[in-house]
């Protein structure tokens, strides 16, 4: 802090020679330094011949700042040469590793400043460790590949390709670009709106199968006879024994010291490499984004990948809605008390001693605050407006006295806001509890009656892990009861759509399942071979997280096979996972789930984090939600995950509890951008991840991300829709390929050594 008090007037010209220290011996260097200082100093002075940096004030700028001129000429050049093949001519700059690419692939090679690592040992760990680690990682990836394949869930092509080359002992293709880019003209970014009634779906004939749940899994039999003979149709799934064996292997991997160390190093390397990439290519990425006509962060598609339907409106919206209903329908009966009395909304408020006028956001008290941090119980209570479960019952339930009418209304208001925003989409969670067999029908009837549908919305079904509660309330006798309530209706409707016609049509709009509850509750029981089977799980204790997840996965797997056979849509498993609690949750997520929500605990488990990276497992993160519940905003691992290249998206979780503005998803993005200084390019990448993770149809994604979006790397990146510069797409892709290559090579040499010793 320069501060000179009571000084004599300093002469306005800089006079360095008067500032010499005593006994200082003057030398040449001093002169040079003096000259430099004078030069720098005069640069900030104004003179008639000095024009640059002339004005720096937020009201008038006559000149461009230092880099501006360079940027402008670059930008203009880019702008006018867009579309020609100038990029091809710059292949010469590209790292030697890519010299061998074929001509037809050249069009996807992007010129930017690449970081190449040379030398023999490029992993930074002893060769032995590399080999061991690589083998473990490859094995873990193969486990996930198997689980995803059998359940019809997503596994990235590029990782699969490397794993396959390894099994076939073939050469690794470094890059794999095929096909040509289509222009925006042949495939508009707007998918055509759904025509007709989305709930009017043809009811296919029944296939007259028989169904029976045994040991927690539904078996499908061709007919009654096969059922009697116990000859189910052979729909593949991973049986309990294999699962437990694989799980044990995964547990061994994540606690293996050298592997932990290896993965930690690779992750640190990925962070550092990304930072280098930004320092070298940031301006280029930004300039490339400007060359994309029309497209910017506001008009690229983004999906709020994790929102609970019952809290998808913000607090102000809910308040206004309640006030509106009080004004318009004060005398409509809205609920029934336990003693059978029917009450109007006015009577309900009278019972609280409260008028509409008095109602405020403070009284509503649904917003999370300092007191909810690490208090999931308090947080849950926030779901009750004014702390009254009756209001929750009336306004945000699907199955109540008014048959969910108000909830449907407010949902439709939220959805219409989404539609108006055009580019924002959401995946709302609706609950199925598994307490009784008719829950699915009730939910489907609610949706069909109120026509709760929007092209901008897909549904996920969240299943709370509350067996212990139902059991203590004598709603179920064993865990299998719960599983039957959850899954049998889905098999029935798949077998014979006309048995549950509304459910059949509603299932078209449901893309998957979520598993929810407080993960931080301590689990005293481990899921292993000694755990009782679901039909024998009759004690009052809640089964562990993994137990729930395995049985959901197994049933979804069989169901997906059955539905594919019939030509129906299939489902994914996208549970809450790693928000808090034990790391075993994340192991289960890695094995069984297509993507997860939260994943905060990954920051403590380098092996899993690296595996999630290699397998591109989607992670829907909600830093504002975490900030109120489990982890302060500044400590959220999202920016680190993102830098390393994990497949992260931003989601709001509960706008009612966390957000203030009318656009919660934009608020979520805005805060992340401001606090973590994300660039526009970073934001677009996160938005693209959110579309990829979402359960919207392939055809819709083709509109949103481009017809080739499933292709690898730059070939799959349609800048005109994603607004992601090819430089970034190429960096991410090439980095992943290098990581895969490195561990596949490691695993291979291990096999070789191994074979040699044995022979």
């Amino acid at each position: 802090m320069y501060c000179c008090f009571f000084s004599e007037p300093v002469s306005p010209a800089f006079a360095p020679t008067t500032l010499k220290f005593p006994k200082h011996i003057h030398c040449d260097v001093d002169d040079k330094l003096n000259k430099l200082a004078e030069k720098i100093f005069t640069r900030s002075q104004i003179g008639p011949n000095h024009t640059h940096n002339e004005i720096s004030a937020p009201y008038e700028v006559l000149q461009y700042p230092i880099e501006e001129e360079a940027d402008r000429s670059y930008f203009e050049k880019k702008y006018h040469t867009q579309g020609d093949n100038s990029l091809k001519s710059s292949i010469g700059h590209i790292d030697a590793a890519y010299d061998s690419v074929e001509d037809e692939e050249a069009e996807f090679l992007t010129a930017f400043q690449r970081i190449a690592i040379n030398g023999n040992e490029i992993s930074g760990v002893p060769l032995n460790d590399l080999e061991e680690a690589s083998k473990s990682l490859v094995k873990a990836l193969m486990i996930r590949e198997k689980y995803m394949a059998v359940s019809n869930q997503y596994f990235p092509k590029v990782t699969a390709r490397f794993l396959q080359s390894l099994e076939e002992k073939a050469e690794f293709n470094k890059v794999n670009y095929i096909g040509e880019k289509k222009s925006i003209l042949d495939h508009p970014i707007h998918a055509p709106p759904t025509a007709g009634d989305p709930f009017n779906v043809p009811l296919q004939e029944s296939v007259h199968c028989s169904l029976k749940m045994k040991q927690g899994i539904v078996y499908v039999y061709k007919d009654e006879e096969n059922l009697m003979e116990n000859k189910p149709i052979d729909f593949p799934y991973v049986d309990l024994k294999s699962f437990l064996a694989d799980q044990n292997l995964m547990y061994a991997f994540i606690s293996d010291g050298p592997l932990k160390s290896f993965c930690y190093r690779r992750l640190s390397f990925l962070s550092a490499k990304f930072q280098l990439h930004l320092l070298l290519n940031e301006l280029k990425e930004s300039a490339l984004q400007k060359t994309v006509p029309h497209r910017d962060f506001y008009n690229i598609r983004k999906v709020d990948t994790h929102v609970h339907a019952s809290s998808c409106m913000n607090q102000k919206h809910l308040l206004r809605f309640i006030k509106k209903k009080m004004k318009m329908e004060p005398n409509v009966k809205v609920c029934k008390t336990k003693d059978g009395k029917e009450m109007t909304l006015q009577e309900v408020f009278q019972s609280f001693n409260m008028s509409t006028y008095e109602l405020s956001v403070d009284v509503l008290d649904v917003h999370a605050d300092r007191n909810t941090f690490h208090r999931f119980d308090k947080f849950n209570a926030k779901y009750n407006p004014i702390g009254e479960s009756r209001l929750r019952e009336i306004f945000i339930k699907t199955d109540n006295f008014i048959e969910g009418r108000y909830f449907a209304h407010i949902l439709k208001e939220v959805m219409s806001d989404l539609e108006e925003s055009k580019y924002q989409n959401a995946e709302y969670r609706l609950s199925i509890y598994g307490r009784s067999r008719d829950e699915w029908d009730k939910l489907a009837n609610w949706a069909a009656n109120h026509k709760v549908y929007s092209d901008n919305v897909r549904w996920l079904i969240q299943i709370p892990r509350l067996y212990d509660v139902y059991k203590s309330n004598k709603l179920v006798t064993c865990f299998q009861d719960l599983l039957e309530n959850l899954f049998l209706p889905l098999f029935e409707v798949t077998n014979d759509p006309s048995s549950h016609p509304e459910l059949h049509s509603f299932l078209q709009h449901i893309s998957g399942f979520d598993s929810v509850d407080d993960e931080s509750k301590s689990e005293h029981i481990q899921f292993d071979a000694a755990s009782p089977q679901p039909e024998d799980w009759t004690n009052d204790t809640n089964p562990p997280y993994t137990y729930y997840l395995y049985y959901m996965y197994a049933n979804i797997t069989v169901l997906n096979h059955f539905r594919r056979e019939r030509g129906f849509s299939t489902f994914t498993l996208r549970p809450h996972c790693g928000e808090a609690g034990n790391v075993t949750h994340l192991v289960a997520g890695f094995m069984l789930a297509e993507s997860i929500s939260h994943g905060l605990v990954l920051r403590k488990v380098p092996v899993l984090q690296y595996l999630y990276y290699l397998a591109k497992v989607g992670i829907a993160m909600s830093p504002l939600s975490n900030n109120s519940l489990f982890l302060n905003y500044q400590r959220n691992p999202l920016p680190e995950y993102f830098a390393r290249g994990l497949n992260v998206s931003l989601s709001t979780d509960d706008p009612m509890q966390f957000h203030f503005t009318k656009e919660p998803l934009m608020e979520e993005y805005s805060i992340a951008v401001q606090v973590w200084k994300f660039s526009s390019c970073d934001m677009c990448e996160i938005a693209m991840n959110s579309v990829l993770q979402s359960g919207f149809d392939h055809a819709v994604k083709q509109h949103w991300l481009g017809p080739n979006y499933t292709k690898e790397g730059v070939a799959g990146n349609d800048t005109t829709r994603t607004n992601i510069p090819d430089v970034r797409a190429a960096y991410r892709y090439e980095t992943l390929v290098e990581e895969l290559q490195s561990i596949c090579l490691g695993a291979k040499s291990f096999d070789y050594e191994h074979t040699k010793k044995e022979s």
Copy 2:
């Protein structure tokens, strides 16, 4: 991280006795601990007789969490007793220091958990230091009081009262509550909308004074004769000599070691005390807020106290506006090139080789990003859409080829959004440069022609510190030319309103002056007695910050006296100050300005920070702006200032550069709340500060904050409008009173000692 792999099945019941360590000798304590553990454990288990904490999942809560029941009963009690005098009965609880309060004051005494400091020496520093420090602080406060009084600017009553008691050697009144609270009924929160044309203001007769600027200050003479005889009207102001003397004194204070240490300790004490207050009273504050009918953070008044008009729209809004104009008026002539050619908007875009479709937010490139950090020059360039000063000229200038028509249009759109929001208001900055004498008339004509007015908006005039630029472009010959261009028109219109009729009416809506430029530019010159007078300041160097501020202050002071004599509105000085650069800026701000914008540098200057606290100097802070330019969000001192009780408000600065959503002020609040975990009560306090700092009329503020808002402490807090619980108001007020009391007592005993020695 608890993680137990490959374990044998653990029996579901907790069996602590099996977990004994070998060689452990069993004792009584073990039994007790075991019992406790069992108790805690069973609490989280489910049994038919156990109902609490039964479910904790975000979909169904049957019970209330632990504190909820207590809260509810408290809340209900409060709710039903509201308005009665139950508070009076709790006076007994209040700290002994307040025992002496009169009965009529009792109604303002709020019951809450106070923190009392007892003992003889309560300041924590040696008595000598306390005395010295107190004397310096009192002297500094008296300096500010003098400058505020003479220029008709705000100085807090409570601080003035203590200073006066000191001069009169009277007793200090600890609290001072007079008057009664009015209910919301006699004074609605909505001020009546302005009737008629806001630009149709009666033109009073001329008073035929003569005006002349000498040594940088305008003098007013009764007539030409007095002018010839050099007998100006005696409007008081602080002359240069006194100012420099006071400034030297202030410089001595802020660099005085013991005083620095004293202030640092007091500030730390204030932080710690506030944290204690929150821990003790947070729940009470929150419960009290709920008892306020209807009012919540969304419907209390808030003012965006610092926004530049030319960037008050967000980037998306500007983009849409440009596209709209391109579509509606492509063939209207909008600008004139240097060689005299008139161009239409279409031609302008053709000259950029760009169509409307191609335009995106990325191309617009007005948003601050990672590259603007510590680069004010780059940031300034962001004011040029597409990097083209021509677009800035067309769209965000008041004085251009189309006479500022587009800028007026977009401003009116922004203002209409504000009006729709009802409770959001803003103070926009418009520029006067001082390059020529007709700037004021041009600006006023623009405002009057386009009827740029809103009840939700007040204007400030920002004066860039750009003398050096005008000088080098030969627009002025000495600094006094600039001052004359700035101030003479204002004196002329005050003398004779009909000489500038539009300006006369526009001045009704202008509340003050702002001083703007990059504060981080190094200043090589100190403002002292040797500095040339404005008429002699003819060199090319820019005068220092303080020089600008003093001459603005001195002229505003004289002008305010002149205008008060005539019954016209007066002006305040509210400069950018302490965003970066030298601490001398903050000294000038303390002496001359009613409030400042930014004040970041205060974090490094404890003496000034403490003085700003004692004198309640308003600080309009913009953490998002700082985050892009000078200081990372997490390091912003706002939460610290707020905890200590400084008068801080939140403002957006430049929504075009920093914000993403349609509600920039709400976005600013939301991010602050999320990152710093502010409570609803904290937010309401910041919002109230923003109204207090703003330049809206006293009558308007009475509507917004309550008729008694100028009263001290709880008496001035109208909870039904501010939504601030009296507990918080009382805490802030009593804390300030204790600080003032402590330093006044210190200063007094010093006087006493001093007198004794001399006698």
